[in-house]
């Protein structure tokens, strides 16, 4: 028993943990000093919001085994409550500093988590997924009815700068907002990590893995799911309120709609739901896709969708599991042997990627964007999508890339199998 007086407990300082959390905090503090452009700061602010949201989602999917298609409900309703509170506060009707607004969003999220969660968590598995989809659509279609609260199509706007500056902080400049988001992000990350080690967090894992056995041990599985969802909704609400401070506008389409629910699922899954840090990677990748790639191409959602599908089909553990496999190989001194094979696979995959981008962008140019002719440029090379040559190049890339990738894939598989066989021998 922990904390029993008089018993000796040996607990070494977990250096690795302190190092990881310390360097995360340091990175969050230092990054905006290295990348000072406005674009980079916005990007990092959005990543911070998405990290909290994706981690809260992973509480359900990764740790509780609940696949939700409506998690945006808690994010969005948290955001809407926060924006109204912020507006009241700037009119002087109530007292609420901007820096504590995420708490309001979180409490609102938790409130709706209590309300909707009671219904949704009655069942697990596919039925849970369907009810969350239903609740998501329900709330979204309500947003078109209750226009006073949801602000109709234009949404609700706000202004984060009001009142007297506190220690010179007005939250006017984007960098101050970034540091606010970073601070909340770090605190939320730590709290969610700590939660996964509480009895409730452990029980959520048990209910995910074997609900029947958890019930026999004496736990009410519905209650475990419900409590998990409430806490998850709390953090989703925090993310929603931070989004309000960042953008100063909340619209129903962007915040409670199906796209937001789908987005957080993409982010968490791409990152990897099996590890705590998976969704953090996923959130960064996702925001990069959304913000950076959407500036270059209109088909960014297609690339994101294809990436997601590839992950579902071939790497259901997400980026995190791929990373952990390599870490294991490095630790057992086999990485050097498989690295050349990886390079070959990556090279041929790049050819396929180029073929895909070329095909998609040329089709797009012809079908959607041909009002001013079919001339276009990719990677700094100008050409005309209406002529045969670029199509021939695309087909060639598909064929050559496909053949090379097939060879490289087999080589990776062969070396991989050899290494696994060696591991087995070592164990025996």
């Amino acid at each position: 028993m922990a904390g029993t007086p008089g018993r000796l407990r040996y607990r070494p300082l977990d250096l690795a943990r302190w190092f990881i959390w310390g360097s995360t905090a340091l990175a969050m503090a230092v990054l905006p000093l290295l990348f000072t452009q406005g674009f980079a700061v916005t990007l990092m602010s959005q990543m911070g919001v998405m990290i909290i949201f994706a981690l809260s989602y992973n509480m359900l999917l990764g740790q509780g085994g609940m696949l939700s298609f409506g998690h945006a409900v808690y994010f969005g309703l948290g955001a809407f409550v926060a924006v109204h509170v912020l507006n009241l506060s700037s009119k002087g009707q109530i007292w609420m500093p901007v820096s504590l607004l995420p708490l309001v969003g979180g409490l609102a999220g938790a409130f709706f988590g209590i309300l909707f969660g009671y219904v949704t968590t009655k069942r697990a598995g596919t039925t849970f997924a369907m009810i969350t989809l239903g609740i998501g659509e329900l709330v979204y279609s309500c947003s078109l009815i209750f226009t006073e609260f949801f602000g109709g199509e234009g949404g609700v706007t706000t202004n984060r700068v009001f009142g007297e500056p506190f220690l010179g902080i007005t939250f006017g400049p984007a960098i101050q907002v970034y540091y606010l988001i970073a601070l909340w992000c770090l605190v939320s990350m730590a709290l969610m990590y700590a939660w996964s080690h509480t009895p409730l967090g452990r029980m959520a894992n048990a209910v995910r893995d074997n609900p029947e056995r958890a019930e026999f041990v004496g736990y009410d599985t519905q209650r475990v799911r419900w409590f998990t969802l409430i806490i998850s909704a709390f953090f989703a609400g925090i993310a929603g309120a931070l989004g309000v401070i960042n953008f100063e506008i909340v619209t129903a389409v962007d915040n409670v709609g199906g796209a937001r629910s789908g987005g957080v699922l993409f982010a968490a899954f791409i990152g990897g739901v099996g590890y705590f840090f998976g969704p953090i990677i996923g959130a960064c990748v996702f925001v990069f896709f959304v913000v950076a790639l959407s500036g270059y191409t209109n088909a960014w959602l297609l690339y994101l969708g294809l990436f997601f599908m590839l992950m579902v089909m071939y790497a259901p553990g997400g980026i995190a599991s791929l990373v952990m496999i390599q870490v294991q190989l490095i630790a057992r001194k086999r990485f050097g042997r498989i690295a050349p094979q990886y390079l070959g696979a990556a090279g041929s995959a790049c050819l396929l990627l180029a073929a895909l981008i070329l095909t998609v962008e040329m089709t797009y140019k012809i079908s959607v964007d041909s009002a001013e002719g079919t001339g276009m440029s990719l990677f700094g090379v100008g050409f005309d999508a209406g002529t045969r040559l670029p199509w021939a190049v695309a087909i060639g890339l598909w064929i050559v890339g496909g053949l090379l990738f097939n060879i490289a894939r087999k080589r990776v598989a062969r070396v991989w199998d050899e290494i696994q066989a060696e591991f087995l021998q070592e164990r025996a």
Binding site: T127, M130, G134, L138, I145, N298, L301, F308, V312, S367
Partner: protein, 315 residues
């Protein structure tokens, strides 16, 4: 009376369209346990393929060919996508179809453009079929009902009266036994998935001309089809039929009614005006609430009768 009759007809024809979609979804679910999130996406592909084919070979040949094309695509998706994912379990299959819905929508945008395409009703089906009291009932609506009923009969006969239907039913309830008797169950799965998506494609051809053929047509109809499948009872064809009609009629009536709670209170002598608390809530008309009704029905159903109208399994 006129309002009731015409709304009922419209509701039934819309409900039958919903059934064309939900029947495929239900068949696939009861067979493979896969909730096909991309079902409405196949509906959309049906509409677009029929539009492109129709430009070359006319509407009616396209009406037959487009579902076949969609069904073939569905079979390919099952063979090379779903079957790969199957080993990771049901959640992965759900995620696969969920991602597929996104990809199909984006591909449609890339190929056919971001705006609606002019998929027109052929002249034969243009114009009123008959005039009820003083309202026209369009031929297209009648055609929609006819196709749906023909399809219903065809699917019923295929499942109940043919050998392949027998194998499908056997593989549905006792896959191992059917496999042991020498039937290729994975191929039956592929056929069912292809067949189900072909039905969605057929619905898409009709829905495409009846409504608008645009990239958001899948996303707007998809959730409704889910509601139908759940309310009817997962895996029950008859249940899906009843739920389709129920929701079709419910929605058609609801969007045409301007009743409100405030109005009802006024009827019994309580005046509601701008000073009443929650005035905007009291003034909400049924027609404004109409989009919420199917989801409300879904949530209520899942709370009070999770297995649906005629379903047999609750999880």
């Amino acid at each position: 009376m006129e309002f009731v009759a015409i709304s009922l007809l419209n509701g039934v024809s819309y409900g039958l369209l919903l059934f064309m979609l939900s029947s495929g979804l239900t068949l696939i679910f009861s067979m493979m346990g896969v909730l096909n999130f991309a079902h409405a996406a196949f509906y959309m592909v049906g509409a677009y393929v029929a539009y492109s084919l129709g430009l070359k070979i006319g509407f009616f040949p396209a009406l037959f060919l487009a579902p076949l094309v969609v069904g073939a695509l569905g079979a390919l998706v099952e063979r090379y996508g779903l079957r790969t994912v199957h080993r990771w379990g049901h959640v992965a299959e759900l995620l696969f179809t969920f991602g597929l819905a996104y990809i199909v929508e984006e591909l449609v945008k890339v190929i056919w453009g971001l705006t609606a395409v002019p998929f027109k009703v052929p002249e034969v089906l243009d114009g009123p079929l008959f005039i009820l009291y003083s309202t026209d009932f369009p031929k297209l609506r009648g055609f929609m009902m006819l196709v749906a009923l023909l399809m219903l009969v065809a699917v019923y006969l295929l499942l109940k009266r043919t050998r392949i239907g027998l194998v499908i039913q056997a593989a549905l309830t006792h896959p191992q036994a059917a496999e042991a008797l020498g039937h290729n169950v994975p191929r039956v799965f592929m056929l069912v998935f292809g067949g189900g998506t072909a039905l969605a494609g057929l619905a898409g051809v009709i829905g495409g001309v009846a409504f608008v053929t645009e990239p958001s047509m899948a996303a707007s109809l998809g959730p409704i089809v889910f509601v139908v499948a759940v309310v009817g009872g997962m895996g029950s064809l008859v249940g899906a039929f009843l739920a389709s009609l129920l929701i079709g009629i419910l929605q058609t009536f609801a969007i045409a009614l301007n009743w409100s709670l405030g109005g009802m209170l006024g009827f019994v002598g309580i005046a509601v005006d701008a000073q009443t608390p929650l005035y905007s809530l009291w003034q909400l008309q049924v027609s404004q609430v109409a989009p919420v009704l199917p989801y409300l029905l879904l949530v209520l159903m899942l709370i009070f009768r999770p297995k649906g109208l005629l379903g047999t399994r609750a999880d």
